[in-house]
């Protein structure tokens, strides 16, 4: 049964089915109707996070602008990446430390503007309870000589129909994305500011 939480599982939003039978019903429904998870009549959500880093923008972009480099993402164990930084060609499979993986594709890349956009192509709602996520990462220089990194996203909750089960609501999806963005930016800052 795919929604039973494992001991020590720290899934964003906590995939704890309130009742084993409910978990089974949801799992069965989603497994039987894979297109269900893509039928988004629900409400798209926004998350915007930003952090200021005491490092020149070029140095920050050297990390953020390398689609294959996920060393600053604390929730990721490793990535299999190919295609460099070529939009539409570059892809990466992210393996999560707590298990599971997602596939992402780079869809836009502007080195001069220090901005990129990627999408989740193969979602796994056990890993991240969202649907149709796209996100942009942008670095810009500050008057202080430092940088501001902005991470913005549009996505839907994992359950596209009305009255979502409690582990697939808008709030759970927003919470999961917010946590990843905040933790990622904090880790990026720590990595780039270390002497």
């Amino acid at each position: 049964m795919i929604y039973t939480s494992l001991p020590g599982d720290s899934a964003p939003g906590g995939f704890k089915a309130s009742h084993p039978l409910l978990a089974f019903v949801i799992a069965a429904a989603l497994a039987l109707a894979p297109s269900f998870a893509a039928a988004h009549g629900a409400t798209p959500q926004k998350v915007v996070e930003a952090i200021d880093i005491v490092a020149p923008p070029e140095k920050v972009w050297a990390v953020v602008g390398d689609f294959a480099d996920v060393s600053w993402r604390p929730e990721i164990e490793r990535a299999e990446a190919q295609g460099g930084n070529v939009p539409e060609t570059a892809t990466r499979r992210l393996y999560y430390k707590r298990g599971g993986s997602l596939d992402e594709r780079l869809v836009q890349y502007d080195g001069a503007a220090m901005s990129l956009r990627y999408i989740i192509e193969r979602a796994d709602i056990n890993v991240l309870p969202v649907g149709n996520l796209s996100a942009t990462l942008t670095v810009r220089g500050l008057a202080t000589g430092g940088s501001r990194v902005e991470w913005k996203s549009r996505f839907y909750r994992a359950f596209p129909g009305g009255n979502p089960p409690e582990q697939f609501t808008d709030e759970v999806a927003i919470d999961a994305v917010t946590r990843i963005f905040k933790a990622g930016l904090a880790s990026l800052k720590a990595k780039l500011e270390q002497p």
Binding site: S35, A38, A39, H40, G41, A42, T43, P44, Q45, K46, V107, Q108, R117, I119, S134, K152, R154, P160, G161, G162
Partner: protein, 327 residues
């Protein structure tokens, strides 16, 4: 020596001339007729009514249920707004700018359209397979099976045909409006969503979200006549000034083509996540909702210049025909 009366008369005439000149100037420089945009803010749960001449929000109507789809009745008296998460359609008295009542709708009601005579509304259930026809006066209903994820809905100007995008079937479904039966299923690009039908009722244009193109369908021949490359994740489509406009969500652009030659004319940079597009009734302007920054942008349909912006509220969707003439 002029009498004060003569002087007053002269002043009066001058005043009249200048007033006439002023009115003329106004007509000359504000070609926009009195029109309004009805923009559902999905995140905010309300409807923004935008005065398009002033580009200001004239009124807000709380609706609830995460409103997304919209259809202005051809006579402009009523506006119908779908609330997919509430499972209802809000009936707006457009002139009074107030919510008249709610009509229950099945599943996740999203795309909506009104018949040219204003007597029927058509609503697509994104969570099911049906299009439901509702007579807003009597409440009488009929259903038609469309296919996987019915999304965009539009009628030909004569009211004889209905076109629905069956998103996950990669097809446009053509229905006979009187019988509410399927006449044809036309294969288009991957995941057709927003659509528009020309004033002659000859062609339908649909934006294909996953294949990043625009399908042009001949409604009489019931076949695909062209596929035009657009930007990433195209959503809304509108026709104006002999051109077709497509909003590309991920590219933050609007693609513009000539409807005669189908030649690409321009790609205009707009804001983040442009969603829906609608034209002014005279075709002089095109309006685009910008989802991420909560705005409605006005574009000149000829020069393609951005003419103005207005903040609408949280998460504007406005999927459908959202412009209303007020005069």
């Amino acid at each position: 020596m002029k009498t004060s009366l003569a002087r007053a008369r002269e002043t009066g005439r001058a005043l009249a001339r200048w007033t006439a000149f002023g009115v003329g100037l106004c007509l000359l420089f504000s070609p926009v007729r009195a029109e309004e945009a009805f923009v559902p803010n999905q995140g905010g749960g309300d409807l923004a009514i935008v005065d398009l001449a002033a580009m200001t929000v004239a009124a807000r109507v709380p609706l609830g249920g995460k409103p997304a789809g919209v259809a202005v009745a051809p006579d402009g008296a009523r506006v119908y707004v779908t609330s997919p998460e509430g499972g209802f359609i809000s009936v707006i008295d457009a002139k009074a700018r107030r919510l008249e009542r709610r009509i229950e709708a099945p599943g996740l009601p999203f795309g909506v359209a009104v018949s040219p005579d204003g007597r029927k509304i058509y609503v697509a259930d994104m969570n099911g397979r049906d299009l439901t026809e509702i007579d807003p006066e009597s409440g009488a209903r009929r259903k038609a099976d469309i296919g996987a994820v019915p999304s965009g809905v539009a009628l030909t100007p004569d009211g004889a045909s209905i076109v629905v995008s069956a998103r996950d079937d990669d097809a446009l479904v053509l229905l006979d409006a009187a019988a509410l039966t399927k006449r044809a299923t036309i294969a288009v690009g991957r995941h057709p969503f927003g659509l528009a039908i020309d004033a002659a009722g000859q062609r339908a244009y649909c934006a294909n979200v996953e294949s990043n193109d625009l399908s042009v369908v001949d409604l009489k021949a019931q076949k695909l006549v062209a596929t035009l490359k657009v930007g990433l994740r195209p959503y809304g489509v509108a026709l104006a000034n002999g051109r077709v406009f497509v909003a590309n969500q991920y590219d933050e652009t609007v693609s513009v083509f000539d409807v005669g030659s189908l030649a690409p004319l321009a790609v205009i940079k707009v804001g983040e996540y442009p969603e829906s597009v609608a034209a002014s009734r005279d075709g002089a302007r095109v309006y685009v909702t910008i989802w991420f920054s909560n705005e409605l942008w006005a574009m000149d349909a000829k020069s393609l210049e951005i003419l103005g912006k207005v903040e609408t509220g949280e998460g504007p969707r406005a999927f459908g025909a959202f412009v209303r003439r007020t005069d």
